[in-house]
Symmetry: C2
Subunit: 554 residues, 2 copies
Amino acid sequence: MNIHKVGVLGGGQLGRMLVEAASRLNIQIIILDAPVDSPAKQIEATQQHVHGDFTDADKIKHLANSVDVLTTEIEHVNATILETLARERIVNVQPSPSTIRLIQDKYTQKIHLTKHSIPVAEYRETLNHEAILSAGKEFGYPLMLKSKTLAYDGRGNYVLRTEQDIPDALNTLSKTPLYAERWAPFVKELAIMVVRRANGEIRSYPVVETIHKENICHLVIAPAQVDGVVRQRAQAVAEDAIKTLDGAGVFGVEMFLMDDGAILVNEIAPRPHNSGHYTIEACETSQYENHLRAILDIPLGSTSMKVPASIMVNILGVSNDMQETLRPCAESLSIDGATIHLYGKRECRKGRKMGHITVVGESMTQTQERIKPILATIEPGVTRDLALSPLVGIIMGSDSDLPVMKIGAQILKDFCVPFELSIVSAHRTPLRMVEYAKSAHKRGLKVIIAGAGGAAHLPGMVAAMTPLPVIGVPVRGSSLDGVDSLYSIVQMPRGVPVATVAINNSTNAALLAIRQLGAFIPGFLTKMERYMETMETEVLKKVQRLDSVGWDSY
Amino acid sequence: MNIHKVGVLGGGQLGRMLVEAASRLNIQIIILDAPVDSPAKQIEATQQHVHGDFTDADKIKHLANSVDVLTTEIEHVNATILETLARERIVNVQPSPSTIRLIQDKYTQKIHLTKHSIPVAEYRETLNHEAILSAGKEFGYPLMLKSKTLAYDGRGNYVLRTEQDIPDALNTLSKTPLYAERWAPFVKELAIMVVRRANGEIRSYPVVETIHKENICHLVIAPAQVDGVVRQRAQAVAEDAIKTLDGAGVFGVEMFLMDDGAILVNEIAPRPHNSGHYTIEACETSQYENHLRAILDIPLGSTSMKVPASIMVNILGVSNDMQETLRPCAESLSIDGATIHLYGKRECRKGRKMGHITVVGESMTQTQERIKPILATIEPGVTRDLALSPLVGIIMGSDSDLPVMKIGAQILKDFCVPFELSIVSAHRTPLRMVEYAKSAHKRGLKVIIAGAGGAAHLPGMVAAMTPLPVIGVPVRGSSLDGVDSLYSIVQMPRGVPVATVAINNSTNAALLAIRQLGAFIPGFLTKMERYMETMETEVLKKVQRLDSVGWDSY
């Protein structure tokens, strides 16, 4: 544990959260930014901060002389001087200046990714009106027009609906050269923070879903409520992309999830990223601490989530009225699991990032419920109901089992348990059964309910191929009164258990699944207690009625 | 969300962690402490900090004039001037100066608690040698001798083994008046952080276990691995104790758990406390943020744990060698779930609190495994294996079921699942069964395995009274081949599920329980996957042998 000094170009909220992480490790951060009381400088009392522009070569040199490592909280810095400092070994710059330069120009970034076979939306350079027209012919409309440089938080993007929009677009984006991208009709936007240590070791944070509003990040949902296969694919693409870049640090990889499950990389940030704020409360080591560990070449921390679910919402200035802007924060003081991060910005302006709130919970269902009153203060009347990943899978051997199994499905629905329901036959779709059973836990399922009749092999066969608990529902067939199904399901050999319930009793299968969830998700346990009380009350009412009416008239 | 200014007497690590929490809420903290770069001042860049002694009346007055609320991070402050400031309404002091004064004198504190019927160890004033002798006659030896004032971190305590120790004790504790306490032969030391808002609202953090080394806090285990009944009792005692004190803030309540389950209050701290450091990583809102919320009279945050388990270890100076002292931190960089907190103290001294490490995990089993290599750098050769609270309860109707049920117990042992095993008979100990079933989830159990034979009512009856999943093992009796047991267990009415396994198959009951745990505790899921692979390998070996030996010689 050596004492380190880290210089950071930029003293905004990202720098501030770097300082938070650094202080706990006795790492001193020295900031270069113009405001004397920039967010990051406020919480590091050193007199060594440099007051000036983070593109100013002299100031950067001055900072470089007093630190062990130089990093940035924004990519729009002076890459040339960083290259010189690194080349002349005056200071260690991380990530490498070549990476920063590459990312500064989004068009060059795209070419680089294409060259390394990273999937991106089709694009072409459009330096004038004619080139844009020609791109429109090739890619169709809507067409995404983007500034190559100095673009962030949606600034520098223009969506062309038709050719007629071109003059206005050129006018709006006049400052930098442009390129055009084929419109990506994504189903979700995903993001991953990837951290790489100087020695090449890479770790990924979970895949999250980002929801943008007016091109600015609004919500970050962690983990993303997508299929496990998509999650793995996104992680592989993100890691492959980062492996093509030089230098250490965390990198934010923004991606599109397409209708067919394909992943396209949108863009990369060579620094801590808004989509990784949630890691402070929700992960074992935050993106900020891991950025410091990576650039200082000390062991990386765990990127695993330590809570089941989290949602982050950005607090943007609604006007220059601070009180009005901070209303969601006032609301969140009364919300369990909510943590407020204000950035210490003295002045509020419309659209300015003033802070964020991270809400954590025992499940995504609970987290979503918790954040609703906060979102209501930001977007009154807007509901953002996520399609939650299922926790329970109901499968049955045949659609003839559905009348029995749907009763259990209704119970899960009544308890607000996210579930999926499908037909998987051991004898008629054996390969589908293998795939279902093998992938179930990777897709986020916590328990499987399998119903089958006769020579009822489905529950036991699925149990043989999943580490999850499997609940078997013996469905009564036309002969033997269901005893055939019961014995087929319950009399499993040692080593492969099936939790068997009574014949045709999918109600109890669902209730058993909820009890299993409730052992770890207190909200479901409370609901189960209430359900049991209701059962008791209903029987007691019948007692009363029997007493008052008499057994002969009952 | 108003902008607040809070003055803090003392700028050590507790003040520093208050600043961390304050910055995120745009609350400005102004510190009064002598060192210009005290831990707390380092991370709040305001020029308004006051440099001086936190017992200096003038300095306190100066600080009071520039803040909305005045609080302390240490109780050994100038209570008289605080009383004056509060009485003259110059500043709001929280907690109230009378509480600080009361707590400064541990003897007065004891009298106060006794007066309010809070259980404490017997004590009496011992102002001289004779009084100590007389206390020794009354309470016996060992006898605890304590300084009334200026005592913390074990300083001011002396354990008298015999009368002969009295002169040395008087010599050691010469500076302040003394009192004697009957030695409390506790089984564990427990602690709870209680937070109270000015409006009287009270919330408690979980009960934790503290392990001291040479009278200084060494480990904090959250939640304490004790029975749910003990947890509830400790919480009630702690809250009752805090209700007797005036003012807002967090309070640390240290307690003894006695052999008979009784709780005795040891002492109270009117401020954030070492036993609450873990709340930063492990709880929905930290003790530091809740202290600020309480004294500013804004809504309190949730005190629930957001992770299943955490263990905190203090980093004390081993000498004046910083590198040597920080070895546990260097080790913990490679430990998943470990977060280092260094306090920015420039000089290392033997016994000085330099930082702490909090480790979190998916279960107490995992957390304990994670922290072992860190503890090994502090206490080589010492193993501190906790008796973990059981996650699974195995019960059976009669000891005649034990030969069947112990096979499942062995599986749980092999998988390192903490479990309990007992006899609970539906027909012969019905009340015990009710109590067992009703309390199971409160005691921390996640699943119950119940074995019974014949008219096997135990699993179903237990399931009728617990919201937890119940796994039923039909035990084969002398007649009917176990079918009687199977039907009695599996054919439960709608509403009350029992997860039934094959007749006599407690192996599968245990494996099913582990699968249920594994759905939420990834470590168990991984072990289950490995177990299933081993089963496969073993069968494949038999295939090989059959192939090579031939079926006729097999």
